[in-house]
Amino acid sequence: MRELRRRVGVVVNGSLVAGLEMKLDEWYSVEDIRAGKFVVIEGEKSRFFCMVIDVRLDATNPQVLADPPSEEDELIRQVLHGSATYGTVCLRPLLMMDKDEVVAGHGDPHLVKTIPVHFSVVCEAEEEDVNQVFGSEDMGTQFFHIGRPLDMETPICIDLESFVERSNGIFGKTGTGKTFLTRLVLSGLIHSNRAVNLIYDMHSEYGWQATQEAGNGRGSFVKGLKQLFGSRVSIFTLDPESARRRGIQSDFNVKIPYNQITVEDIASLSEELNLNPTAVESAYLIVNRFGREWLSELLKQDPKDIKDFAEHVGAHPESISALHRKLKRLEKFDFLQERVSEDTVYKILEFIDKGVHIVLEFGQQSSFLCYMLVSNILTRRLHDQYVMKTERFLSTGKPQDKPKQLIITIEEAHKFLNPTAARQTIFGTIAREMRKYFVSLLIVDQRPSSIDDEVLSQVGTRITSLLSDEKDINAVLTGVSNANWLRSVLASLDSKQQALLMGHAVPMPVVIRTRDYDHVFYSAMGAVEGEALAQKAQSNIADLFGDR
């Protein structure tokens, strides 16, 4: 196998902390070396897996640079190339593996604790290296093929088993394929059945079809999760009208009674509703008087009667009047009702217990106010239920009582997880207490710098497409040790279909070209379409009614 490897250069310098330097072989063009490329160093006793982080042009003699050969001096250029002038590639060793273990074909790569000897040969990584490090789909359903290295065709897999254990993040500037990546990851999770997903789908793009923004077939429709996984995914909607217009059969229309809205829910929306702290305090006074019915009692009041009402609850009339005025906005949401026939949270739990994944579409109700209000109310109650379930499981210890691992996907996460909100909203709690209660988050966001540091540091796996703002890059690298070198990699990603994977679910950071979300993917996920679908229908008919 080793003879097949293509040599890239030799190690000439470096340290464990600062990384290695490699002199590029003269027959290898510096332009073929990309930041993020995966290479393997054959040391004396170990094999090292490294990532290219920087490429530099060097010269043995500064005089050459002061008097560069002219364009006609073809020979001089050829002579100098690779000898007096050469490329230096900075490598970051990430994992190492004993050579004996490599030969024996067992053993896992572990973190680097040393560096290879001088002049160790650096080669391009081969398929077997990638599989050794990242696993392959043949090794079990826990491995999900998410993309390929920049210059190879070997699939790179994430370990879903580790992935679902913690909260995860998908970050990237707008238009870099966050939605697409999220859809890919969700498909993997649903396909492997490692966790049940609840997706707060702000722009209604996960459940049913959505338009493709890049890659082959740009502008065409791609399948949503419901189309791929059929009955294993159900669509809940806040806006049945919009669902109908788009020809979607929703499984449940979400209605929320006023008495499920608590002051905390309103408080976390203070920015959106423009509430001041006094308003929140006044709201508590109303709760003291009316309990859970506080909101409907308040909204019922005629503006003329506010003064009496304020006196009745013992609050300042102006403050109550302002609160009343501002909360009136909530009345225009059709899904908020006085009484509802079926409780959404119980319905969600019922589906989750059956292992059915839920996409909650917001339809036309895609304002932040609505998105945050609904996701807060539902998640807070879900979390309470999950805490109870977990406690029951801990007391009985029966495997059947073990709650199903739940992953909640939220978009525009910085609205929920900014330093102020993270302490108030339930999402901050979930992000922090992690897997203790079998609930974790999949945070989708374009502005990671606005997310609370404490939350970010708890994010297990980060999938990051291009970020250009220095603050955002710093934020994404929060909690990653020794991460400076990843900065250049992150800033050099293409704006489409490229992402940096790092964290819990991958043994080492790696840059990938994300997997195409196309017909090949659909069939890998088990979806049947086109002619195959017609055939399947025929055979189902034959099974049901016999051949005619």
Binding site: N61, D67, L75, V79
Partner: protein
Amino acid sequence: MEETEIGEVIGSSNTEFIAESSLLHNPPPFGSFIKVDGREPIYAVVINAYTHSLEPNRLAIAYHRSEQELRDEQPQIFELLKTKFEAVIIGHEQDGTIRHRLPPQPPRLHSFVHTCSPIEVRRLTSQLQFFRFLLTVEKAPREELIAGVIRAAYAVRDGERSFLVHAGKELVRLIGDDYEMLSSILHRIQD
């Protein structure tokens, strides 16, 4: 068939030798490859050549005639002139292989000197470590000498350009710190 000799060794040391040319005014070209006959032939590169009077205290004088007129009128003066050339040793043959190092003994006096055949030049220049010997030469401009040697080796290679690049890279290793010399040699060997 043994080629006719081009000269005879008249002074030698471990690193270089002097030979008298068989033909007046016709020494081997500057920078060309020559060999000294012997049980184990010695290879060298011509670094210098000169013609002078046989007697040390009698200088040649100008006659203001063409060479042909002189040969017709005073043929004896040509008998009193000798052409000599100097060469720096770059290797020798041992058990049929070329060694790019100095021979254990200097060439014997009165040994015959031949030009190297193209095949021998190719064998000799398959490795270029001998450039190092040429860099120690003080009797000739080194840039010219090395460029001459590379051109001579290139001449037997049918325009195999990769040889020039290979030779250039060898030079970078040796004189990489002297970019001026390097580029002046490279300019001289470009076609």
